[in-house]
Amino acid sequence: MAPVLPLALPLQPRIRLAQGLWLLSWLLALVGALTLLCSGHLLVQLWHLGTFLAPSCPVAALPQVALAASAVALGTGLVGSGASRASLDAAQYPPWRGVLGPLLVAGTAGGGGLLVLALGLALALPGTLDTGLEEGLGTALANYKDTEVPGRCQAKRLLDELQLRHHCCGRHGYKDWFGIQWVSSRYLDPNDQDVVDRIQSNVEGLYLIDGVPFSCCNPHSPRPCLQSQLSDPHAHPLFDPRQPNLNLWAQGCHEVLLGHLQGLSSTLGNMLAVTFLLQTLVLLGLRYLQTALEGLGGVIDGEGEAQGYLFPAGLKDMLKTAWLQGGVARRPAPEEAPPEDEPPKEGLPEA
């Protein structure tokens, strides 16, 4: 039964390990806290943009898993700093002896699993974002005119505020507005010949115009905003639609939002990778420290040669011992049962 990856740890290297571990643990706690804040920020941003993402898009999974993973990393960091501090002091170490083993298992399984899941989601996110935004923005543009329909009446305000805040217009450009009816039929004069002509000339009976809402206007333009008759070069003096100009926002909201959210999630992914690295180092260090101190019987300043290892034996040997131990534990069960019945009976008459 040879221990896996043994490492000789006399007193001085053990102290050095504990001190280095203490530093690393505080660093892990700091990075965990920062990742927590970053995933919280991403969650808030996704919640704000909820109307523009298709409901079927499971985008919120990444920040939620990252939140859990960073909380576990923060906990691991705090536990690691406490344990490494205690391992330098003979009086403080005994309470940690029993707790450290299960904590290490929980940290590796829980933290490691969550981190790997979060990293995987961070890599897979951009694809789902693209389709989700495409669908969501398309629905939002179609619902712009439905300010009287319950459930959709906020679409106009939200889309206007999105275009004003993120400096974008339409899905991929301002011409997207030419293809949908964004003026509510309630405000169209049925007696106006121009309106009737437009509606009749359209196959689906939609009122389409070559104009955009006011939220597409760019304040940097030197002239007052031109919103209507954008395809007609003679409608406005000194304005030729073929020339690039500052009149409207040039970018489409799809590109802007995609870039914004992808930037946030890539930052989060980088921070998760750093957290993963630090957590692995801290857990390894704690394991070596724990096994070395167990070898000395919990005596901190013992000068003896202690050996730290990852596992007491190889995987096959461990499974064999676990199986044998389970069999031994099952046999004496009937003998143990009668003594268990007696103490409660004794306890009742006293009470």
């Binding site: 300010t147 009287e148 009446c153 106009k156 305000r157 206007d160 505020e161 004003l164 964004w182 003026v183 509510s184 309630r186 405000y187 169209l188 004069d189 106006d192 809402p213 006011f214 939220s215 206007c217 304040p219 940097h220 030197p222 002239r223 007052p224 905003c225 919103q227 406005h236 003096p237 000194l238």
Partner: protein, 346 residues
């Protein structure tokens, strides 16, 4: 008769010194916060200085910054004094400086209170500066070709979008100025020529507003032009229409923003002032308690601490006497010097 006498034994004195040491370091933190608030206020005023004709008064943020720095210096010094107060040897070297230091502290507290009061009173001057600045700003809205004023359009548009406001007092302010540059007017059009001729100053005035006045909460697409002409738009009555444009004027919006900011800063400054007064009072008690230790060889003895040695009118009389003596003292010295010089000359 001493004012507010309190008996101190050794333990109480030590506790007082330790408590004061902690409070002084907390107060250094408070001083840093005041400094930060002053800096924040200064940056906010600079951000919108275009709207105030660059003539706004920076007195309040500058004084907050100064007070924050002074507070840090004084309180760290007081912390050092309190730390040394427990050691008679170290305390001996601070003893002669303590009385003037306490006088400076009292002066500092008075000035801090005045600065806190100024935070609440700045609103009045800001109102007139804003009204003036916004009026001029709107006049330069169309001058996007004039160097030095070409950013005014962008600034006003961003302001109206961010603060959800329109014009100086309301959207009708835009009807009275020409906000469309001549460069983009078609002078061959009859309508343009008529409008310009009908105006005394030859300006092109419209009953329309820029796009930044539009309210996104309106159920219909924004109506910007021909606002007073009901027949120009279907199902539109300009008397009852409220959601189309922002109703608030930008002067009121900016004023309420700055008032809220100043009020919170003023409240924080008042809290810090109360804290500083407590520290000064505690320091005075420590000073008089340590002075009152009758026997320097026996540190365990009891002593008394007070705020003022005599009652307030007696202290005021004594203060006036000492000021008179100072004046008389100079006179006596001058006479002595003259008398000394005269025999020499003679």
């Amino acid at each position: 008769m001493a004012l507010l006498k309190v008996k101190f034994d050794q333990k109480k004195r030590v506790k007082l010194a330790q408590g004061l040491w902690l409070m002084n370091w907390l107060s250094v933190l408070a001083g840093i916060i005041i400094f930060g608030l002053g800096l924040f206020l200064k940056i906010e005023l600079r951000k919108r200085s275009d709207m105030m004709d660059n003539s706004e008064s920076h007195f309040v943020p500058n004084s907050l910054i100064g007070m924050g720095v002074l507070s840090c210096v004084f309180n760290s010094l007081a912390g050092k004094i309190c730390y040394d107060a427990l050691d008679p040897a170290k305390y001996a070297k601070w003893k002669p400086w303590l009385k003037p230091y306490l006088a400076v502290c009292v002066l500092f507290n008075i000035v801090l209170f005045l600065v806190a009061l100024c935070c609440f009173l700045l609103r009045g001057s800001l109102e007139s500066t804003l009204a003036h600045g916004l009026k001029n700003g709107m006049k330069f809205y169309r001058d996007t070709d004039t160097p030095g004023r070409c950013f005014m359009k962008k600034t006003i548009d961003m302001l109206q979008i961010e603060f959800k406001c329109c014009g100086n007092n309301g959207f009708r302010d835009w009807f009275e100025i020409q906000w469309i540059s001549n460069r983009y007017l078609d002078f061959s059009s009859k309508e343009v020529k008529d409008r310009i001729k009908s105006n005394v100053d030859g300006r092109y005035l419209v009953d329309g507003v820029p796009f930044s006045c539009c309210n996104p909460s309106s159920p219909r697409p924004c109506i910007q032009y021909q606002l007073t002409n009901n027949s120009a738009h279907y199902s539109y009555d300009h008397q009852t229409e409220e959601l189309n444009l922002w109703v608030r004027g930008c002067r009121v919006a900016l004023l309420s923003y700055y008032s809220n900011l100043m009020n919170s800063v003023g409240a924080v400054t008042l809290l810090v002032w109360l804290f500083e007064v407590t520290i000064t009072v505690g320091l005075r008690y420590l000073h008089t308690a340590l002075e009152g230790v009758a026997n320097p060889e026996d540190p365990e003895c009891e002593s008394e601490g007070w705020l003022l040695e005599k009652s307030i009118p007696e202290t005021w009389k004594a203060f006036l006497e000492s000021v008179k003596k100072l004046g008389k003292g100079n006179q006596v010295e001058a006479e002595g010097v003259d008398a000394g010089q005269a025999p020499e000359a003679g």
